[in-house]
């Protein structure tokens, strides 16, 4: 059975994971190893007057003053208006978020290190905290960085003639959206262990990272070491999601302390540190205006996006990746001619923003998908129809959109059609129409009164449509979309027998994956990923060794890279060993992020394995007494056209142990190949999908149950469909967390309020639906094997699908949710507000 591309091969790494034998940073042990605990700032914004270390702890506590010569983390960018920040690994002068590291304490155990940390006395002068990103933009707001004259890391502006479109548009939809601050919450948090290797004279850093080579570069840069003096090893890593693709201040300070003390030191992030001081992400605010014609065809989009990026700019991706991506990706899969967008990356007294699975796109997808549905309601049409009609059609591929994104291949409308069929939209609409009001309406605390309060007669949908068309004649002001609400309400009916309201929602996105040199260059980043390299070797035993500087941390790359090699070499994955994550053993790679692993590392392995296959055929041809062009590789053997064959082991033995069997003019490059790879067009290849959800909302308590959830995806060639499905389930689960549950809250002084999993709620098995997935394969014309990235994709769409479904369900109540997570409290507050104000005169919807 083939174990190459397309095979549902069980993951190679699962054997050790399922047996509990994987080795994470926390599992490592070295003689004389001590543990680290940090003294962290209790205040969000303060000047440091003094740090007092009790005499008895001398030599056990280190502060910024001890770290002479260590540079602050500084992520440069060439983008105009960008201001870099200096992020010292231990705070110097000021603290800028609650949880910022101030001192590093060491002891034989973590508990003892925490005892010491408690006794370090911080004398802080509290400063006004900058918490709300909109308030932080105003002149006169307190400043996070004293040397700046405002709180803006970056502003960007793309102009478009929206005003003239507005005048002729049949409908103009205006919305304000908010997405919550989140944490990524991988199963394993950050962890780093540093020690000095006397023999090699190297600082060896074991760290839970997606990007070992980048960390080596960063550590060398900020510690002032030569890269040759640093080795970084990422052992087993329990999830990354982007949190582990940036250099953490703890990686620097623990490495420095290990060099200073000559002792192996380890810090393992605990859950409270993770939830309060790390991995902050996702917090966006949108003001969005969409202009459309009477059928809902988008004519223009005007957006103002504010991203709350926290106190510091992370290295290497900066505080601006998010807003740059948001501005560029908002139009998404839609064919749009006029676009105007202003973005603000605002500094606040919160932990620095890190790129989380989907980077910006979960936010822009949420904003855009809710807007599409709002437009559909405004013109009184089925949102799935309006969505499909606005997408870039298959015939237009490859297509360069209004922001210059080059979409390589695919049939976007087909994904809507697929999801529509899977979720059975007609059946859902029929079910909504069949739903009957509760008997007598007497027994329900809420739903019934809310329905009863809508005393106006239901308007005739057709009449409403006429009004919209007539509006152009009157032309006093743009029609508000909400005039259409009642048209949909009439169709969607009332609560079901259990009092719950059913709704259906769709969400479509396209995701730029494996974007390379030109794209990252345009973002002005200090590091631009280009070629990815891989080494493939036929070992003396006949085994194949694959070495990649990328890393596998749950996404299955250890298996899928083996499958690529298997495809090229005709040998089973059980005979292929993949080594990753160690800068001492692998070629340079900027690492695993931006859904680039399969395309880039996969491409490099493919190319190297192809070269190796050529060499194996050549050596085998000598042994088989035939021409290399008459030798093919399959079943772990080199087979001559006539039927004779030699095993890979025979070929390897000849080269390594019995060169006397080979002719004198043998190719001395041997059986080890390193190749570099970059797609022909490296502006990224675009994966796309449509998700659809059916929800039941209990209007009495604001709860949401996802009754059905489907994904219709296309990521080009699937290397391992089973791993891909796992990625999709996991991504969608995270997206559902974004939609309904997860929220990092801060009070007005910047104190984190969600410091444990009791307060920061992630969905569990009981909250997640049984998802169904279907795929098409639109191969990319630009990559090896037509592969596109998919690692992030499924996390992007759920908020749009779920909240569109909620709004569909709540439309009879004249309620619209435009903020996530859509918690019971938020939904209930909106319902109560709508009830309190009674039937609204202008038909305008309310959101909390």
């Amino acid at each position: 059975m083939s174990t190459g591309i397309g095979a549902r091969v069980p993951r190679k790494e699962d054997a050790r994971h399922l047996a509990g034998k994987a080795r994470f940073v926390g599992d490592l042990s070295f003689p004389r190893l001590w543990e680290v605990a940090f003294v962290r700032s209790p205040l969000a914004h303060a000047r440091i007057r003094s740090i007092t270390v009790p005499e008895r702890h001398a030599g056990r506590v280190f502060t910024a003053r001890d770290m002479e010569g260590v540079r602050p983390i500084r992520a440069e960018s060439s983008l105009p208006t960008y201001k870099p920040s200096d992020y010292p690994p231990l705070a110097r002068g000021k603290v800028r978020f609650a949880g910022e590291c101030v001192a590093l304490c060491i002891a034989p155990t973590r508990a003892e290190a925490e005892d010491i940390a408690e006794e370090v006395i911080l004398d802080l002068e509290a400063l006004p905290a900058v918490i709300d990103s909109l308030a932080a933009r105003r002149p006169g707001a307190p400043r996070v960085h004293d040397e700046w004259d405002d709180n803006l890391f970056l502003t960007t502006f793309v102009d478009g003639d929206v005003e003239s479109v507005k005048e002729r548009a049949a409908v103009v939809v205006e919305r304000e959206y908010r997405t919550a601050r989140q944490c990524m919450a991988p199963m394993e948090g950050k962890a780093v262990l540093a020690r000095h290797d006397e023999r090699k004279g190297q600082l060896v850093v074991y760290t839970s990272t997606q990007v070992p080579h980048l960390i080596r570069t960063g550590l060398s840069q900020f510690l002032g070491l030569d890269q040759a003096d640093v080795r970084v090893i990422a052992p087993d890593v329990g999830g990354g999601f982007g949190y582990k693709c940036v250099l953490q201040p703890e990686e620097i300070s623990v490495s420095w302390a290990a060099m200073r003390t000559g002792r192996p030191l380890r810090w393992v992030e605990d859950r409270r540190e993770h939830l309060t001081a790390g991995a902050n992400t996702r917090q966006h605010h949108y003001r969005l205006t969409a202009c459309a014609d009477g059928r809902g065809r988008l004519l223009a989009v005007d957006a103002e996006i504010t991203v709350d990026v926290g106190a510091y700019s992370v290295w290497p991706f900066t505080a601006c990746l998010e807003a740059a991506q948001a501005g560029g990706n908002l139009p998404g899969p839609y064919a749009l001619d006029v676009y105007r967008c202003k973005t603000f990356s605002v500094a606040t007294n919160k932990p620095g923003f890190t790129p989380y699975r989907g980077v910006a796109r979960p936010g822009v997808c949420f904003a855009m998908e809710l807007t599409i549905d709002a437009v559909a309601r405004a013109v009184g049409r089925e949102p799935a129809d309006v969505r499909a009609e606005n997408l870039v059609p298959a015939g237009a591929m490859p297509y360069t959109n209004v922001t210059g994104k080059h979409y390589d291949s695919g049939d976007y409308p087909a994904s809507v059609a697929g999801a529509r069929r899977m979720i059975d939209l007609d059946a859902v609409r029929a079910r909504q129409g069949r739903s009957l009001p509760p008997p007598g309406g007497a027994d329900r605390l809420d739903a019934a009164p809310a329905c009863r309060s809508r005393s106006r007669p239901l308007p005739d949908p057709a009449a409403r449509l006429d009004t919209a068309h007539a509006r152009q004649d009157h032309a006093e002001r743009p029609a508000r979309d909400s005039r259409r609400v009642d048209a949909m309400s009439a169709r969607q009916g009332s609560p079901g027998p259990d009092g719950r309201l059913i709704g259906v929602g769709f969400s479509t996105f396209t995701e730029q994956t494996a974007h390379g040199t030109r794209v990252f260059g345009a973002w002005g980043l200090p590091l631009v990923p280009g070629y990815e390299q891989a080494t493939v070797k036929l070992a003396p035993s006949g085994m194949v060794e694959v070495r990649s500087g990328n890393h596998s941390f749950g996404q299955g790359l250890e298996t899928t890279l083996a499958q690529i090699a298997s495809e090229q070499l005709g040998i089973g994955v059980d005979r292929i060993r993949v080594t990753m994550g160690d800068t001492g053993e692998t070629p340079y790679s900027t690492g695993a992020y931006a859904s680039r692993g399969m395309v880039m590392a996969g491409g490099a392995v493919s190319k190297a394995a192809e070269s190796l296959a050529g060499r194996i055929r050549k050596h085998a041809a000598h042994l088989l007494q035939t021409g290399a062009d008459r030798v093919s590789l399959a079943g772990g053997q080199a087979n001559a056209a006539g039927g004779a064959s030699v095993s890979f082991e025979d070929v390897a033995r000849a080269w390594y142990l019995r060169p006397d069997q080979l002719p004198d003019d043998v190719d001395t490059q041997g059986l080890e190949v390193t190749e570099g790879y970059k797609p022909e067009v490296d502006t990224g290849v675009f994966t796309y999908a449509t998700h659809a959800a059916v929800v039941a909302v209990d209007p009495a308590i604001g709860s949401v149950e996802i009754l059905d959830y489907v994904l219709f995806e296309d990521c080009g060639r699937r290397v391992n469909p089973m791993i891909l499905e796992g990625q999709s389930y996991g991504g969608a689960a995270q997206g559902i967390g974004t939609a309904l549950f997860e929220e990092s809250l801060y009070d007005e002084n910047g104190q984190p309020l969600t410091s444990t999993f009791a307060d920061y709620v992630v969905p569990g098995p009981a909250e997640l639906p049984a998802m169904r997935i279907e795929h098409t394969e639109s191969l990319s014309p630009y990559t090896r094997h037509g592969i596109k990235g998919i690692g992030e994709g499924a996390a992007i769409a759920p908020a749009g699908a779920v909240v569109n479904a909620i709004n569909d369900a709540l439309s009879p109540l004249n309620v619209e949710i435009n903020e996530i997570p859509a918690t019971p409290r938020r939904i209930l507050a909106a319902i109560l507000a709508a009830k309190a104000s009674g039937p609204n005169e202008d038909g305008r919807r309310r959101s909390p």
Binding site: D443, G764, L832
Partner: protein
């Protein structure tokens, strides 16, 4: 997130536990299943010098079903109550409450006595026990005493326990054969602490009725007016009346929280009454079957 240094003592009996508890004075803390104390230790919110583990004290692990009442030892776990179909006080009420606590891993270790002594305002057992009219039995150096549940819990995380005292068991009156229990717990996620809880007992034989609101305000409270209306009419009071009473007794003014609390109470009442609803055709109010259910001078 590692605890402060402490001494751990696994008590061999009740006297041994009391002795160690008293010897350590203020710095001692009792450990039951550790499902609340464990995280509090790790967060260093609890900083005991001595932990006295009573989870395996035999005297605290007994269940004694009697005709009039059931006593449940403090170290009996949620899972043991969930798995023990016999000797429930009201139908399957205790099983239902136990099965709704957190997740099975927590239920395997968490204890009813620990829940009562910890007095989290959202915890299930205190709410149930107030509703069921239970008494908490405690023992200290000065001897044993028992306290009715509403009074035992004084405020959030605060009980009537004096220093050196241990909750030994809870005593729950057995309800009559026609008694019905209704419980409604609203939480964001399966197994999370509740945002609002309603608990209702209707016991015609004993002329006893209680409607309790929990997870709102500092402790579970019997809603006296709502209870009287329910007892007198066998019908739920108007939503606004329930809401107003919760606002008053729990000193809660957040409209969303109040609304949830009122819905929880209302649904608990509906669930208790639903047991009396006879049929799906015709008599939707269930008033026929509820004949004889009302009692003017109910014991709350």
């Amino acid at each position: 997130m590692k605890p402060v240094d402490f001494t751990y003592h696994r008590a061999t009996g009740l006297d041994d536990a009391l002795e160690h508890l008293n010897a350590a004075g203020e710095g001692a803390k009792l450990l039951g299943g550790g499902q609340s104390l464990g995280p509090m230790l790790n967060l260093r919110l609890a900083r005991p010098r001595v932990l006295v583990d009573v989870s395996s004290v035999a005297a605290l692990r007994t269940v004694e079903p009697a005709r009039e009442r059931v006593t449940v030892g403090a170290a009996v776990t949620h899972a043991e109550i969930e798995d023990r179909p016999v000797s429930d006080v009201i139908e399957r009420a205790m099983r239902e409450v136990a099965a709704g606590i957190a997740c099975r891993a927590v239920r395997n270790r968490g204890t009813i006595g620990g829940s009562v002594a910890h007095a989290d305002p959202s915890a299930d057992w205190p709410i149930f026990l107030v509703c069921a009219g239970a008494r908490a039995h405690v023992r200290g150096a000065a001897g044993a005493r028992d306290v009715p549940m509403p009074g035992f819990i004084r405020a959030a995380y605060t009980t009537d326990l004096a220093p050196g005292e241990i909750v030994t068991h809870v005593e729950i009156p057995r309800a009559g054969g026609r008694a019905r229990f209704g419980f409604c717990k609203l939480c964001r996620k399966a197994g999370e602490f509740a945002e609002a809880v309603g608990a209702v007992l209707i016991d015609p034989e004993r002329r006893c009725c209680r409607v309790v609101t929990g997870a709102v305000g500092p402790k579970p409270v019997v809603l006296a007016d709502t209870t009287r209306t329910l007892a007198a009419t066998a019908m739920p009071p108007e939503p606004d009346a329930i809401r107003a009473e919760i606002a008053a007794v729990a000193n809660e003014h957040d409209p969303v929280k109040l609304h949830m609390a009122a819905v929880a109470v209302r649904r608990a009442i509906d669930r208790a009454l639903a047991a009396y609803a006879p049929s799906h055709d015709g008599d939707r109010s269930g008033s026929g079957a509820r004949t004889g259910l009302t009692f003017q001078s109910a014991d709350i």
